[in-house]
Subunit: 322 residues, 2 copies
């Protein structure tokens, strides 16, 4: 996998940024190591997903240009695919659930994606996606469980290795597991003493539970404000890597997501969506065992509805006033 | 001045960050050059003011430790001074107007500053500050009009020269003029073909009007949501540099500040206060003549009251709904 990641790093620039890694004073705890934030929210489309989207399309560019692409996503991969396809002159159909964030649906259309709405189940989403693929011959892009997407995600790990001289503990939001798998594959290959910790919502512990049981399990959909972390069964490829290379997968509660979004806005001046703030939430809640290493929290995305974001900030004001 | 700036660059690290310079897709306009954002909002205390605060205190550290420091500020220099003083083991008294942003007063106290409130005029603020200085023998730190503060501000210019290989047009929020003077002194010394554009609120055109008239003038206080850009008479030192080196000072309206704050939040995933978004506002409003050069907008600070920020975002939602 690591050679695929290195190839991806050479392929996806200059379409995506080598994002900033910034020191966080508000998150530092005396005696527990420095805290860094990796700002994937600053990528075009506001999330790390442009990395796998560009890598997948560029890997099969001729086919993509001829036949178009199709994918399905809860939102951030949808926006990224629409954006990458437009930049590369490729036609993109994107299957999203009717109940997906209207903000993310709207933005996917703004980036030029042809959005196909389906029922509110993963079964319906995949059924619709595969039907389109079969009928149209489009190139199917998997949002997390393919070598191309995992390799694209892993380019973040390569950047961390370039930017940090010492070993570190990287904390990563987990949905289907592509991001944490890619980062773990890159980081552990070159610095096995680094730690990699995944984070999921308490409401969706699919990867944590699968890792605990040693095999992929499906958990019931309970709903979380972290709408980006909604995959209920880990990917096959991603789970194999997580089982082997990821040190732990921890869970955060809804109010911990909210606290992290607020801290990032008020103290760190960053807009993060709840799923994008999962690593910060886990660190703030004391759930990350960094073994004295410097901590890197991946801030994976910032695509939150403005009104929802405003609501979270106003709760903070009330808390201060009280 | 430029040698003072270079000395400051050597002095203020590692207390402040070399902040990220990030590409902005949402602000780019085809055929008009790339747009970069310099993220001073990511500094400790959420604004560039830690640069001049650390430089001023470190330049006179022995005296500062013995006698303490005193300064006056509308808010961001207050927080920065409180923070820098605490980090360096120095006692800090900070004079702020009763009408200053309660959020900034509160944060100044949180960073350990001893806040002294005065009447809501610049006369009262300076009178109080000078009285404290006279009676206590504290080291007086000027928020913008001293060589130490201008040199600290100018370290941003050094970083831009390091990070960008080609000539550029840098757009800079202006209050008393320290930031734009420092950046202009650094940038023009090494790359005279770069452009430097200052930005003030229409409601406070003190530097623009002074530059037009060729001498320092005082303008009436009209009030702007950009509370960080409230100085009504340019500094003496800063005005001399602006007169000589700054290409233009342009003015933005209140709704242009609001639009810039919203765009930075929604598209760029950054929390900026209105004054901190002034450069972006000017660029969005088509008021920056970049002559084909790449554009750097300084995002100078992010200290906005959460409720006010939430209110601006919700206006955006209404605009979309309408």
């Amino acid at each position: 996998m690591v050679s695929l990641i290195q190839e991806a790093s050479g392929r996806i620039f200059p379409y995506v940024w080598h994002t900033p890694l910034v020191r966080s004073e508000p998150l530092s705890r005396p005696g527990r190591g420095k805290v860094w934030l990796k700002l994937e929210s600053l990528q075009p489309t506001g999330a790390f997903k442009v990395r796998p989207a560009f890598n997948a399309i560029l890997t099969h560019l001729e086919q993509a240009r001829r036949a178009g692409v199709v994918t399905s996503s809860s939102g951030n991969f949808a926006q990224a695919t629409a954006y990458a396809a437009r930049e590369l002159g490729v036609d993109a159909q994107i299957v999203m659930m009717r109940g997906a964030s209207p903000f993310k649906i709207e933005r996917t259309r703004q980036f030029g994606g042809d959005v196909v709405l389906c029922e509110d189940t993963f079964e319906s989403r995949w059924e619709t996606t595969f039907r389109i693929q079969r009928e149209s011959g489009r190139l199917l892009l998997h949002p997390y469980d393919s070598e191309e997407t995992i390799a694209g995600d892993g380019t973040i790990g390569i950047e961390l290795l370039e930017d940090l001289e010492s070993d570190f503990c990287v904390v990563v939001p987990v949905s289907g597991g592509g991001l944490v798998a890619g980062i773990a594959a890159a980081v552990k290959a070159f610095r096995p003493a680094c730690r990699v910790i995944g984070v999921q919502p308490e409401a969706n512990p699919s990867m944590a539970e699968s890792k605990r049981q040693g095999s992929r399990v499906t958990v019931p959909a309970l709903g979380s404000m972290a709408d980006a972390l909604s995959v209920l069964t880990p990917g096959e490829l991603t789970f194999e890597i997580v089982r082997e290379l990821v040190d732990d997968v921890v869970l955060v509660e809804e109010d911990e997501f909210a606290a992290a979004v607020r801290l990032l806005a008020e103290e760190q001046k960053l807009v993060a969506e709840p799923g994008g703030a999962a690593a910060v939430a886990a660190w703030m809640a004391g759930k990350v065992d960094n073994r004295g290493l410097d901590v890197v929290c991946i801030v994976s995305g910032g695509n939150i509805v403005p009104a929802k974001f405003a609501g979270l900030l106003q709760q903070a004001d009330m808390a201060i006033a009280g």
